[in-house]
Symmetry: D2
């Protein structure tokens, strides 16, 4: 049981139990992505049977969920050239060619995304025991920038549709803490295995709910999500990454009286685990429910933005 | 032979010969991505043998090649929170958690990218015969925005290393126009086939050169690239997409006396072909040269930025 | 009386009555700023008696009123370097110097601002009878960009505190249409004159209200403001510019059944009048109410952003 | 004489001699702007004789001098709506109204600007002895943000045209260190006085040179500028602010062997002095040379960007 009054003690204990510091050497920058080996990729590719593909990305536009928390905004997309300009004949190009270009300004954590290893710190320490102040300055993450895993994230994906398995009408309520028991029950219900190097997708159903009811407090408010107590499972299973269809991966409100994302504080700096957030698993989950196959080939390549502590991503699952 | 004095006539003739307007119905927004079928994906997945993965993306940072052409700049990456802030204890979070967030502002055509179907027009017409002024306004591309192919671009990739096959020290000189004959010779040399639904990567070697010598005029200056005369090959082969390691896909200077990217004017609005630019094929090409295998599984998922006429992309090849 | 069913007819009639097209020649780009002469400036400077200065600018930050209308957002301010970086010793400068730099991304119409002459068109025509499509493209305003008045806007300011004069507790209710009669009554109450070359500030009190009650729909919603019927007064008085403490200068909802900012459509393209919006007149107005002097020296210099159709501004009044 | 080998010692000694810490109380955030009193403003306004106005701002656009130093870029200005859109009839507004809006993204130090008091630190200390790490975080400057002087900077301006007085053809060469003797000689030549609360503009002529010859290394390279030895003059004269027509105010290369802007390190955190950079004094200076009057009314209001360590500005001089 969680002692709701002592997040700091619980975090310290979990961090000690689950630490991967030094596991891949003092210079490591890839954390659990080290589990995602070529063998896992050949295994994953063998899961492509029908050739159907699914984008797991939400839209990137002004209609997103961001409301200003930590100054996160929705993307601002503007045009450098347009078809109306081309039609008006003002572009100055020869032989009838016209063109359109565009620009985007956005927080890297505004929509479907990866958290990089420089995203969260524990008492001033970043992944592998490095000093946060030396790793992530205003210049960005000089060690574990998201570009360090630019070529890794393609492998076996497993969908754990906890919403469909344990929820009502396919959805878990806000505040529902998904425990190891829930994960195991879902795994068993799906008849799938989860293990080293897998990329695990946990569907809570919250995204389906906010699509129906409006964003509300999707960005930062109450949500179903992983219980703090799953830290050991996340460590023990040796998965490469985990993603949810929610804003913040873990259950909200958090399971301590005064807390902010305590599972992040263990998972990212101590386990070295990559977290995906705001993934859209709806179409994929419907397909998995229909054919009973919850494993697939998954590519989720971050943009190699030098020094970024996260990245927008369009994950592609192929079954 | 090309009549260097008549780009407009040559473009009109090629457009007529190669048009795919209406091929997939009046409402089509995916152009040649229609060739990339589930069958192609199962075929492509079977090419994963060793499980090795390659990122084909250049970096996204301030050290890129952009010099202001069409107001394109290099990305500006700034931090919303940092490790130095966390270490200084100024973030106000409980139980010792600290965090870093970041923001990017960039042209969507600044580094490794896809051109969407709304990127280029011919005499005021966009893909499938639509009016450019109705398709792409300041609000973006309301019909063929890059989000319309968010789930498609995963399939069989083929590398045509024209630089290694026909160049000196693996590189074609600037101004080298790659013709159908060059493509065929490379295909034959590699012992690979190219056909319907493939994603074709053409390596010229220019990126290797500018990496060695400095960006110079990589963004917009002289370059090896596809000859205007390959329009029929691009159409006839029914490939899904083609990408190069250069800024602009086609040979520069262009093959007409007064011209600006004439092959784009046929390929995008008339063939409905997706063009990739500034892809980094160096590591992949070295591997292909070593093992003699020039085909692979390729995922190149654009960010679904609503209404965008292009997208940054981190293509992942797996062999 | 306004025929609420015929905005187009009313606009056309007012445009005809009030047009300044050609008044300053075919090449004119300054519109009513031509009224702001050196003589007006010497007159204005003589109004500086006590030397007290007032900023009439709202804040530029994430807590502003913008909610996405026409994709307008609040400013995003990020740091390129910080004091926490400097203190952490990671900046790499010699002899103990440290530094901080910053970046802003914002719509030019997000907070206290000037509307430039390229901001509004009437049936495809811009100020002085130019074609909107030739004046304002994706490259910006090539003729009447805000930089063309970079050195002009300093002169005699007059505050018309209609809120204090005619409102309840100093505020006009939303939807209150300020007519010429209201303006005249306020002028008389203040004992001030308004004429050629003046910069007129109209305080409605709405900003005081939203400061107290929350932004609500300040950006785009109901508001007190100028009646459409003041077009003739705006033209006849030959003022150089007019500004309000509201989002949109004119009364909202507008005075026609189906309308969007009809007075703008006359004032900007036909009169060539500069409109200021979202100005904060609270401190100045309190001072004017206290000493009974409603005229002052006013400098309201736009940033000379080349080709901009508006500009953020920090107007400074000195009495 | 300057010991070129000991910048740290020289800075420490100058800081001790020139410190204004505590002069206006422990809570002060305005530094030398405290010298700019209402009396100074009435004095300044009396200098308006002919009513002619001058903008001292360079352009804000993509053609500026920035080349990436400290990741500073030139402004990126994009449109949210255009005249071409309006003319194409795609904006969806009633009664023939059309509109254009725009967006800017730019470093606050990219063109004509004020350095705020949070811009430079000395050994981790900011203005008035505050800890830099507590004052300027990723959230911006929480104490001395530029908004704290939003209403102050209007008063008496004095142009010291050192370029015309002591240079060749009106220009000082790069590397020319302007000493107190040079300032005094210029003051004497102009027959003007400089004292408490004045805003002093120092013209070197470098901007005229780069306008003629191209930007070159204007942003960060060699330049004429204030000698480190003027620290005492800057302190003793009790001026409110000083600005130059160069990128960095002080002479470049700096006068120590291994140095970076040592005069900043004294002027900003210790004197609490506001520095203006990249001001365009050309038109004003020509007028002053013509009529022999080098004093004027000056308004140079920063945008009140909350927490900014600097601000773009369009200073307006009126004579």
């Amino acid at each position: 049981m969680i002692d709701r009054t002592d997040p700091e003690g619980a975090i310290a204990a979990a961090a000690k139990r689950c630490s991967n510091w030094g596991r891949w050497g003092a210079d490591d920058v890839r954390g659990t992505m080290n589990f995602l080996t070529p063998q896992k990729r050949t295994q994953g590719a063998s899961l492509v049977r029908r050739g159907v593909s699914f984008s797991l990305s939400q839209s990137f536009d002004a209609n997103g969920p961001q409301k200003g928390w930590r100054r996160r905004t929705n993307p601002v997309h503007t045009m450098l050239d347009t078809g109306t300009d081309a039609a008006a004949g003002v572009q100055g190009f020869p032989h009838g060619i016209g063109g359109a270009d565009d620009v985007i300004a956005m927080p890297l954590q505004c929509s479907t995304q990866w958290d990089g290893l420089g995203h969260i710190f524990d008492h001033g320490y970043a992944w592998n025991g490095r000093l946060a102040a030396e790793v992530v300055t205003s210049l960005g993450d000089s060690r574990t920038g998201i570009e360090t895993v630019a070529d890794v994230i393609a492998g076996r994906g497993v969908l754990l549709d906890v919403g469909r398995t344990l929820g009502t009408d396919g959805e878990l309520p806000d505040g529902f803490a998904i425990t190891e028991e829930h994960l195991t029950a879902t795994i068993d219900a799906h008849g799938v295995r989860v293990g080293r190097g897998d990329i695990v997708l946990v569907r809570t159903g919250q995204l389906a709910r906010v699509r129906r009811d409006g964003w509300g407090d999707y960005a930062g408010g109450p949500a179903p999500g992983l219980s703090f107590t799953t830290a050991d499972w996340l460590h023990r299973t040796e998965i490469a990454a985990i993603a949810t269809d929610t804003w913040g991966f873990e259950v909200r409100p958090n399971e301590f009286d005064d807390a902010f994302q305590p599972l992040h504080q263990v998972a990212i700096p101590h386990i070295g685990l990559f977290l995906g957030e705001m993934w859209d698993m709806e179409a994929l989950a419907a397909d998995c429910a229909a054919d009973g196959v919850h494993e697939f080939w998954l590519t989720a390549a971050p943009l190699p933005i030098t020094g970024a502590v996260g990245s927008p991503v369009n994950p592609i699952a192929v079954k």
